[in-house]
């Protein structure tokens, strides 16, 4: 079942004193997110990730394009009723305590009374803020505010959770705890939409990802689908390779990096790899090992952005 579906979603902001300048924050974005998956939207700062989420929650409005969330058109209150949102750089009323903050936002969700209070207390315990619940949030650290934001986003037991840089400012232990919370939510059937530029985090928990750059979707797929086309090998040699051999190898493969006795090559298939190995042997250099190396999401991400796609 598709929870989020967008078709040709574009957003142009007008800028400047007389609003004559135009900034294209999103360009023809078509994506779908299935029920129960953790979907990661990746991109550098300013790629349009936050704008995309804000449009889905009707905090911003699209210039053109259509989108449906839970099958409802954008703007329907039922979308926000069933969604949780942790914005990036969120600011809570500083005069409230952690518990009061959750009670306020719970009220805005239509929750009330002892049920809300019990829920708020249990969430604060879950995110590790139990001892801080009656302390004003102006005393909270950035990591604690992020945990509070996470609790706030979970108040209404959301079926769809939007998280914008949820681990920003959180220490490694806290990050693991947040990852565990997300995995627990997924196990209970929630759909999670994660905006992040922390690729290692995304790689650990996302089922599928999309790469967004300058408002355009460059790739969509599972982590393995996205990184699989790149066969990379690390070849350990007995002695350093000569400049002549380097040139020979570069004539066989597009990407090769030699560093003393280590050669890294990206090849389209194993036949090409064997051509490289033949060339090395022909030079009389002994091969100590050939280790396949799976490109990380980060490698791939940087490669896609550097290739200039989306410009």
């Amino acid at each position: 079942m598709t929870i989020v579906e967008t078709q040709g979603l574009s957003k142009t902001f007008r800028a400047g004193v007389f609003k004559k300048g135009q900034i294209e924050a999103l360009r023809d974005v078509s994506l779908s997110v299935e029920a129960g998956e953790i979907f990661g939207l990746l991109g550098p700062n300013g790629a349009g990730k936050t704008t995309f989420v804000k449009i889905l929650l009707s905090i911003s409005h699209p210039t053109i394009g259509v989108a449906r969330v839970f099958g409802h058109k954008l703007g329907a209150l039922s979308i926000r009723q069933k969604s949780g949102y942790l914005p990036e750089n969120h600011r809570y009323p500083q005069f409230l305590t952690g518990l009061q903050t959750l009670l306020l936002f719970g009220n805005l969700h239509g929750l009330k009374g002892p049920i809300l209070k019990g829920k708020a207390q249990s969430l604060l315990q879950r995110v590790g803020l139990k001892d801080w619940m009656n302390i004003k949030i102006k005393r909270y650290s950035k990591g604690m505010l992020q945990r509070l934001g996470m609790a706030q986003a979970l108040l209404n037991d959301p079926e769809l959770l939007f998280l914008d840089e949820p681990t920003d400012g959180v220490d490694p232990v806290g990050r693991k705890e947040i990852r565990d919370v997300l995995k627990g939510l997924k196990a209970h059937g929630a759909t999670i939409f994660l905006n992040s530029h922390l690729l290692s985090e995304v790689e650990l928990i996302c089922d599928r990802v999309a790469i967004l750059n300058k408002g355009q979707v460059l790739r969509v797929g599972t982590i393995s689908e996205i990184t699989a086309p790149q066969l990379e090998y690390e070849i350990q040699l007995e002695s350093a390779i000569s400049e002549r051999l380097s040139e020979t190898i570069r004539s066989i493969v597009r990407e090769a990096h030699a560093n003393d006795r280590v050669l890294r090559v990206a090849v389209p298939d194993k036949h090409v790899l064997n051509h490289v190995l033949d060339a090395i042997r022909k030079e009389g250099i002994l091969i100590e090992s050939v280790v396949p190396r799976r490109a990380s999401l980060e490698d791939y991400f940087i490669k896609v952005l550097q290739s200039g796609e989306g410009t």
């Binding site: 209150l77 926000r80 809570y92 009323p93 005069f95 009220n107 969700h109």
Partner: protein, 283 residues
């Protein structure tokens, strides 16, 4: 329920910002001053201010209690309005700050409800102060002078309503500018504009003898809350106001509800326009 939660948090924010505390403190200073200044003469026949009876010439034919309450109300309404705007003008811009707007707008509450409950919260915060002030003054006059002046209470209720209509202009400008400073400045400009429009026939009409210009001023007068008209009429609920003659020879000294009716309509239109504008904005 959701709107009520927003109203409650708005009032709390107004209190915790400190400006509303200052507002409350100023009201109490006035109350203390009145408590100290007035008392009845030993035989109960006259009202003494700092131990002296009010000269009959100053009373202009009205009772000393009416005179004192009218003086008090006239001098304090300006402070009530100015400080009231200062105390709560920042509440809408603070809701629209980056990082806060996203939190509120992502909740299942329509933008119209969000904006109106925020505005009502700000208005209620000031109205409660005005009514507290009115009740204490009313009780003081009752206890010290034996006069339980219901007209004064009603008059203060009308001042609170006038503030609510006046705040519509400030709420809209703070929505447009997202700035507390601009909202306060434009609120004050509107105050002076409203005073000028109220007496336009004896004042700004004469700046340019042109019918189109006069009609534009008339439209402005009816399209915006009639602050001066409402406050003048609120005063008339206390008693015949000897200062009414300042409005001009043709001005009536009788209370009329019409400025409140026109202001209700214009404030409703302003709130509707503001809600429409808010619903179209990106945050």
């Amino acid at each position: 329920m959701k709107g009520v939660a927003m109203i409650v948090v708005t009032i709390r924010e107004a209190i915790l910002r400190g400006t509303l505390i200052f507002y409350f403190a100023v009201g109490n200073i006035i109350v203390a001053f009145v408590a100290f200044a007035i008392k009845a003469s030993p035989d109960g026949s006259a009202v003494l201010v700092f131990g002296n009876p009010i000269p009959a010439k100053s009373l202009m034919g009205i009772s000393p209690v009416d005179f004192l309450l009218i003086q008090l109300q006239r001098s304090s309404t300006s402070a009530i309005m100015f400080l009231g705007i200062f105390a709560v003008a920042g509440l809408i811009p603070s809701m629209l700050e980056k990082g806060t707007a996203e939190l509120y707008l992502s909740k299942p509450l329509s933008r119209t409800s969000l904006f109106l409950s925020r505005s009502f919260g700000a208005t209620i915060a000031i109205a409660l102060n005005i009514l507290y002030f009115a009740l204490v003054i009313w009780a003081l006059f009752g206890i010290k002078l034996g006069v339980w002046h219901s007209g004064f209470l009603l008059s203060c209720l009308m001042v609170a309503i006038a503030f609510a209509f006046y705040f519509s202009v400030v709420a809209f400008t703070s929505l447009l500018t997202r700035s507390q400073g601009f909202a306060i400045m434009l609120g004050f400009v509107f105050w002076f504009l409203s005073s000028a429009l109220e007496t336009r026939e004896y004042g700004i009409y004469k700046l340019w003898d042109n019918q189109v210009y006069h009609r534009i001023l008339d439209i402005l007068y009816y399209a915006t809350p009639q602050i001066s008209g409402m406050l003048e009429n609120a005063t008339r609920l206390i008693g015949r106001n000897p200062f009414d003659r300042m409005l001009g020879p043709q001005a009536t000294a009788d209370f009329t509800i019409m400025p409140f009716v026109y202001s209700l309509l214009s404030a409703s239109a302003i709130y509707a326009l503001a809600a429409r504008y808010f619903s179209k904005q990106d945050y």
